[in-house]
Symmetry: D2
Subunit: 336 residues, 4 copies
C-alpha cells in the first residue's frame, strides 16, 4: 500500500484526493489545509482520511511516501523544498514555482535526494492531448507553421498572480509537450481592469526558428468559456476544442502548397489549395487527473522520469517570467 498526503484543499486539492483514492494500492493518508472548513469538507466525503492544519505533522510521518501540493504558487517552493528534504516524492501543482531559480533549486534537491519531482501539468494526461501528440509525432502535419491557443472564461480572479500565470501556464505546458522545440523569444500585451498590478486579459506571442509562431489569448473576463487550440502544418491542421462534450479533436487534411522558385509577379498562381476530408479520432475519455496520479505512482514505483517532469516545470516558469517581463515593457521581445 502506497501512502500519500494532499497539501492544500481549495479547488484542486479535493480532485487530487478523489483521484488518488481511486488508484489501486494507494491510500490517501492525510489532507492538510489552513482552513478548518475545507478539512471538514474532506472529512464529510472521505471519513477515513486524517486531516491537519499543520503540514509538518505529515512531513514527520515516515509512513507517508509522497506529497501532492496544491497550494497557492507563492508557497510551492518552500513546501516542496521541505518535502524533498524529508525524502518525500512530490507532485507539485502548476505553475511549479514563482521563479526559474526556485525551480532549478528544486530540481537539484530532487536529484540529490533521489526523489520523484513531478509537476501537475494535467492536460498532458488527457486523451485529447495524448492523441494530438501521437498524430504530430507521426509526422502527418508536415512542416509546422503555427500553434494558436485561446483559454477564456468568467473568473476565477486570482489575488496573487495575473491571468498569464493562471491560465497560460496550462497552454505553455501543452505547447512545450507537443512541439518539443526551444522557443526563441516572447512578446506579451495585456490590460488590468481591476487594479493596475494584475492583468486579467493578455495576449502572448512566442516565436520559434523556421517562422513557427505560437500565440496565446487568456482572459478572466469573458462571458463565454472557450478552450481552443489550432495547430497548423503544411500538410494537415488540428483543431482541439476542449469545451465540446465529444469530438474534441479534428484533423483537417487541408493545406496550401507553395511552388518554390517562382517569380514574385506570378505569385498568385503559384499557390495551390488542398481541401480534403476531416477526421475525428476516437480518444480515451479517462479523466486526465486520474491518468496523472497513476503516472506519478508508476514513476515512483518504477523509477521512471515523469512526462511532466521538473525540467518541463522550469521551462514553463521561464516562459511565464519572460511574458511578464515583456508585458511590463510594452510588448518588447524578450529572449528565451
Amino acid at each position: 500500500m502506497f501512502r500519500i498526503a494532499v497539501i492544500g484543499c481549495g479547488y484542486w486539492g479535493p480532485k487530487l484526493v478523489r483521484n488518488f483514492g481511486e488508484q489501486d494500492d494507494v491510500k490517501v493518508e492525510y489532507v492538510s489545509d489552513l482552513h478548518k472548513e475545507r478539512l471538514n469538507f474532506i472529512k464529510k466525503r472521505h471519513p477515513v482520511v486524517k486531516t491537519t492544519r499543520n503540514y509538518k505533522d505529515i512531513l514527520r510521518d515516515n509512513k507517508v511516501d509522497a506529497l501532492a501540493i496544491a497550494t497557492p504558487v507563492s508557497t510551492h517552493f518552500q513546501l516542496a523544498q521541505e518535502a524533498l528534504k524529508h525524502k518525500k516524492h512530490v507532485l507539485l501543482e502548476k505553475p511549479m514555482t514563482c521563479t526559474q531559480d526556485q525551480a532549478q533549486r528544486l530540481i537539484d534537491l530532487a536529484k540529490k535526494h533521489k526523489r520523484v519531482l513531478m509537476v501537475g501539468h494535467t492536460f498532458l494526461y488527457t486523451g485529447a492531448v495524448r492523441k494530438i501528440k501521437e498524430i504530430m509525432d507521426s509526422g502527418q502535419l508536415g512542416k509546422l507553421y503555427y500553434f494558436d491557443s485561446v483559454r477564456i472564461n468568467l473568473g476565477m480572479f486570482q489575488h496573487d498572480t495575473n491571468v498569464i500565470w493562471d491560465l497560460a501556464a496550462h497552454d505553455f505546458s501543452i505547447m512545450d509537450y507537443l512541439l518539443g522545440v526551444k522557443p526563441v523569444n516572447i512578446s506579451a500585451s495585456g490590460a488590468c481592469h481591476a487594479r493596475n498590478e494584475i492583468e486579467n486579459i493578455a495576449y502572448v506571442t512566442v516565436n520559434f526558428t523556421n517562422n513557427v509562431i505560437a500565440h496565446f489569448y487568456v482572459n478572466w473576463l469573458a462571458p463565454v468559456k472557450i478552450r481552443q487550440i489550432l495547430i497548423g502544418g503544411s500538410d494537415k491542421m488540428i483543431l482541439f476544442d476542449d469545451m465540446l462534450p465529444s469530438e474534441k479533436v479534428k484533423v483537417y487534411d487541408k493545406g496550401v502548397w507553395f511552388k518554390e522558385g517562382s517569380k514574385k509577379d506570378d505569385y498568385k498562381i503559384q499557390v495551390q489549395y488542398r481541401k480534403g476530408d476531416m477526421y475525428v479520432p476516437q480518444i480515451d475519455i479517462t479523466e486526465g487527473l486520474y491518468v496523472e496520479c497513476k503516472h506519478f505512482i508508476d514513476c515512483i514505483k518504477n523509477d521512471k522520469k515523469p512526462l511532466s517532469d521538473a525540467a518541463q516545470g522550469l521551462r514553463v516558469v521561464r516562459l511565464l517570467e519572460a511574458a511578464e517581463k515583456s508585458i511590463k515593457n510594452n510588448a518588447k521581445y524578450v529572449k528565451l
Copy 2:
C-alpha cells in the same frame, strides 16, 4: 435614373453589379475589367450592361454619375483620383489606399470637387454590426474593457498585400465604427510561411486610454472559418459570431464588480461576479452590401456624409500602416 459603373470585376465586383442592379432608380451602365473572361462572365448574367477593358471610356461618359472601384488596392489611388477629377462620385473598396498620404489627397480632392467619396467598409452596413452599435450607444455595456476579433480561414492568399491589409482591414473598420475613440498605439506580430515578404498569419494589439485593449487575429492558413468578435464591458458583454446562420449576436448580462479602495491583501473577496440572462436580439438580415449601395446613392442624392466616409478610410489605413511598421520592428509599439 441614376447611372453607375463598376471598375474591377474579380471576386467583389460582380456583387456590386448585382446589388446596385437591385436598387430602385439605379442602372449599372458599365463594367470594366482588364480580363476579357471576367467581362464575358458579367455579360452572361447581365446582358444589357456595357463592358469595356478601358475604364477611360467610362470617365468620358457624362451620363455616368458614379464609380464603384473594386480593383487591387495598389490601383485605388490613381483610379479614384481620375474619377474625382472627372466629377464622378466614388465608392472605393477597402482598404482605401496604400498610404495615409494618398487617402488624405483623395479626401481633399473630393472636397474640392464636391463629390461623395465613400469607402466600402461593408460590415458597417450589416444588421449585426448596426445592432451592436445600437446596443453600445445605449450605454448598456457600462465601461468598455476590451475588443477581441478573430477572422481566419483557408485562403485567399493575396499577391500584393499581407493578411493584415486583407483581413484586419474589415475588423479595424468595425472597431473604428463601434468604439469611436482614438487609439494610442499598436503592436503586431506575424509569420510568413510562403515567402518572407508577406505575412499570412498575424496578431495585432491596439491600446487605448483607460486600459481599453483591442486585439486582432488574422490567418489565411486556418482549416476552419472563424469570424468572431468579443466585446467586454463592465456591465454587459457581446459575442458576435458571423459564421452562425442565425443568432449571430449574443448579449451577456455578465460581469465583475471590483470594490474600490480595498486593501491589496484582501483583494480576492472584493471581486463579485454577476451572471444573468443572455439575449439574442433580432437583426435585419438584408445583405450588408445592398444596404451599403443604397446608402451610397442616398448620400449622393441627399448630400449626406457616408457612415464609412473617407475620413474613416484614412483612419483604417493609418492602423494598417502602423501595424505593418510594428511587425517589421519585432512587435514594437507604434504611436498612432
Copy 3:
C-alpha cells in the same frame, strides 16, 4: 442524523450514494447489491459504508429510515413493497414499476403505512427543467401547441426492457410535470435490430385535447448523443438542449398569429409571423440528483408531498404500458 440505504449499485446506485453522502445530517448506512465487485467498488470510495449482498439485513435494521432502490425495474415492486411494510420511506428509481396495478398497490401501501414514496424522476430537479416550468407557469408561451422530445445515443442496451421503458420514461415524466394535463391517447412505432422482442428505436405520439400534440424519439443505436426538447406555444417557444455545457434553455419570442373567421381562400394572407428576440435564462447548475435527494429528505422530515410522487410514477407507467401496447398493434391509438 438521518440514515439511508441504497439498494442496487450498478450505474445509478453509486450516484445516489455520493449525493446522499453530501447532504447535511444524512448518513449512507448501507449499500446492497448482488454482485460482490460492485460492493468492493463502493467500499473503495466510501470505506465507512456497510455493504451487504442481502438487502433483508437492511430491512431488519430499525435505525435505517429510508431506502433508495436502484435495481432493475422488474424487482421494483417487490423491493418497495417489503420496504414499505418495514416502515421505510422509499425513493424508487424510474420507471416506478412494470405495471399500473403494481404502482397503485405501492401507492396504497405507502398511504397505509404513512411513509413517503417518491419516484426518481431526476430531470424534474435540474435547474433547466425547473426554469422551464417557471416560464410555462407564467403563461408566457400563450396557448400550448406541441411538445417534441429527442433522446438518442449509443447504448446502453437493456436486457429486460425496451428503449421506451428505458429512455422515454425520462421524457414522459418531464412532459407530465411541465404540461400538467391529461393525455387522451398514444401511438407508437419502433424496430428491433437485435432480437424481435425488444425495440431499440421507437417513436411515440401522445395526443391531448385542443390539438396539443407530443412526440418522443428514443434510440439506443445513434452515433451521436442528442437530448432536445422543443415546446411550441402561440406566443413563445422553448428549446431545451441538455447536451450543451451552458445556455441549455432558449426562449424564443417567435410565433404565428392566425386571423380568426377568415375565409378559406384567402388563408395565406391571414397568417402573420412574429420574430422577436431570444433569451437564455440563467439556470441553477446544482446536480439534479443532489436536489432530488435533498427534496426526498425534506419530504420525510416535513411530511411533504414529493414533486415526483408515486401518483406521477403511476402516470408515467400508464404511458409506458400504453406505448408498448400500441407498438405491438401497428401504431394503433391506445386510449389513456
Copy 4:
C-alpha cells in the same frame, strides 16, 4: 442555343431563372406568372427575358424547347399535360402532382411524346446527398437499420397543402434515392393549430422489410431551423446536418454487434459496442439547383433518364397520399 421558359415566379421560379441562365448554351426565353409585380421583379434582374401573364403564349412558341414549372402543386398536372402535348420537355417542381393517378398519366404522356419529364427533387443534386449516396452504395454502412429525418422551421404556411406535402416531399425523395427499396406501409400523426384542415406539424413513420424503419418530423411552427438526417447501419452511421455552413456530412464508425444464437437471459453480455473514428468527407459545394438544371439539359440533349425521373415523382406522391390517409385515420398503417 437551348431555349427554356419558367412558369411560376414565386419563391422558387427566380432561382430557376438564375440557374438556367448560368448554364452554357442555354437561354431563358420566357418567364410567366399571373402576378404582374413578379414579372417586374424578373424584368429588373433579367432585362432581356420576355415576360407574360399568359403561359399559352409560350406553348405556342416553337422555339421554346422546355418548360420549368414552379407553380402551386394543384396546377402541376394541367400545366405539365399541356406542355407535353405541345412537345415541350418538362421540369416539374415537387411534389409532382396531387395524386398518383395524375402522375401516372403524365408519365404515359411523356412516353408517348418522347419528351423528358423530370421532377425537381433538388436535394438529390446537392454535393451532400450525392456523397451520402456514394458512401451507402459502397456498402460501408453494413446492414441498414433506420433513416431518421427532421425538417422544421418557422413558416412558410402554405394555403393549399399541409406540412407533409410541403416539407416531407423533400425527405421522401431523399429516402427514395438513398435507400432504393420499396416501403411496406406508412403511419402518420399531426396537428393543426391554425384551422382543422391543414396540419402544420406532423410525424410520419415508414416501415420496410427486415426491420428497417424510417421516420420524418416536419413542422412549420418551430423557432429554429433544423434539417437533419440520421442513417443507421450495422457498421457505420451517417449524420447529415444541412444547416451547417460546412462539415455537413459526418460518417461515424460506430455500431453494435449482436451475437447470434445467444440465450435470452445472457443477452446483455452479447452486445458489443464499437466506437471508432468519425470522418467528414469533402463535398462538392456547387448549388444543387445548378447541378439539377444542368442534368435536365443533359438528359434532353443526350436522351438520358433523369435521376429524379417521373417514376420517382410518382413514388413520392404515393407516400404523400398514403401519409395523408393515415393522418386522417388516427395513425393507422396504410399499405404501400
